[in-house]
Symmetry: C2
Subunit: 240 residues, 2 copies
DNA sequence: AAGTGGTCTAGACCACGGC
DNA sequence: CCGTGGTCTAGACCACTTC
């Protein structure tokens, strides 16, 4: 049976989306109680385990807090934790319009280290896209993406100025993003990077290297991001 | 009923621990298949949902990979993702002996910003512990912990040179750690920090501020860590 | 076709919190 | 005491991968 025939979306995700929307529209505000598992089960006509699945997921995102014996509450409006989101998605989830300048978008075939990260032979053809992210007129991040050209050669022609790369991959290429492994460290902005980010030579920046996977096992993308960190902070939630 | 009477540990955690141990002892190596949900259910005499719960948790830690239609496999030996672990635990999980030098351990009462992070009044008494973390003779991290003195005044006298602070809290104070929210950015090592870490003035370091929560709602600890990032990398897994 | 993970049911008991 | 989340059962069907 299950109540997911109307559309392909699993019931627990529909419940999550309903709650997310109520929080977004400020119908539910930080500290408010979210309907309990039992209430959600009745409202959405699902079993307890399904309602529970929905709430557990929202807790891992940091959207709600659950307290045994007490209830589930809307969390303080921090950032979505441990959620794989593109820059565009981050911005629009905060009501801002993403701005970025495409510095480069072409096919290359001599970056063996990147190819290795993507699990490909050393001289594989790769789409390389370099973008400067801006808030207003101020640059705050430099992101370099690499994708296997075999599967995604067309994205060099995508309207990256306006469309989200994630959205393009999901809608135009039918890619289902699964998760990303990220490696974070600090480094110094040198030469061209410092110029682009408009900081002094040697200025510390946050470096994030992500390998992004789709649900089909495949490695989809490798991204190196360099962030001026006065404005932008990385938030993580770890569990015991 | 449930098979958790023998000890207080839930069945899904006992299954996880069993699998963790098999991986640790290299009985299961990267790429090997982990018993399927149905097998685990039979072996441990639990229901499918419980076996599933165990595997889902291990996947979120990055210990295993699950592929629909195919199976569950031991993941490449990366770091445990998004898992709240102390420095000591990280080291010993890699078979290394943790070394650290306690620089300071006393009670203070005039750090209003820190008190605020812990959700306490501005002039609350706090335990402050400053430690330099070493690999061999080389320093690589400077960690400053703050705890509410009202609950944890005794830890100033704990043998922090050898015992893990996490272990002390869990065993001596009956604290059950729940999760931590972390804020990560890059900054420059200046003055005393640069000297302690043995790097040049202005050298970029990774800064991690964590607020650690117990299962009893309470904020237990605030930690600021500064990391030379040539050796130590922060690994994160994000989900879509 | 057989086996796997993903979703789901309709209940159950427990531990805990707040009244 | 009642309501909450935490754990658990004993099944079910589906979508997917592998052979």
């Amino acid at each position: 049976m299950s109540s997911n025939h109307r559309n392909g979306t699993p019931a627990y995700q529909r419940i999550q989306n309903a709650i997310r929307k109520r929080i977004e529209l400020a119908h539910l505000r930080p500290g408010d109680t979210v309907p309990s598992e039992r209430e959600l089960a009745k409202i959405h006509k699902v079993s307890l385990m399904t309602a529970r699945h929905a709430l557990v997921g929202l807790e891992r995102e940091g959207l709600v807090e659950r307290r045994r014996g007490s209830g589930t509450f809307v969390a303080a409006p921090k950032i979505h934790f441990n959620k794989l989101m593109s820059y565009s998605e981050h911005m629009s989830s905060r009501g801002l319009t993403p701005r970025s300048r495409v510095l480069l978008s072409k096919i290359i075939d001599s970056e063996p280290e990147v190819a290795a990260r993507l699990g490909l032979p050393p001289t594989s053809a790769l789409v390389k896209i370099e973008r400067l992210r801006l808030t207003g007129e101020e640059p705050f991040a430099l992101e370099t993406c690499h994708l296997p050209a075999a599967d995604f050669a067309q994205v060099v022609n995508a309207p990256l100025g306006r469309a989200s790369l994630f959205a393009t991959l999901e809608h135009e290429h039918g890619v289902e993003l699964a998760y990303a492994d990220e490696e974070v460290d600090a480094t110094a902005a040198e030469g061209r990077v410092a110029e682009l980010l408009e900081v002094k030579q040697g200025y510390p920046v946050l470096r994030i290297r992500q390998v992004i996977y789709s649900t089909k096992v495949k490695t989809i993308m490798y991204v190196i991001g360099l962030y001026r960190s006065e404005h932008h902070r990385l938030m993580i939630r770890r569990f015991r």
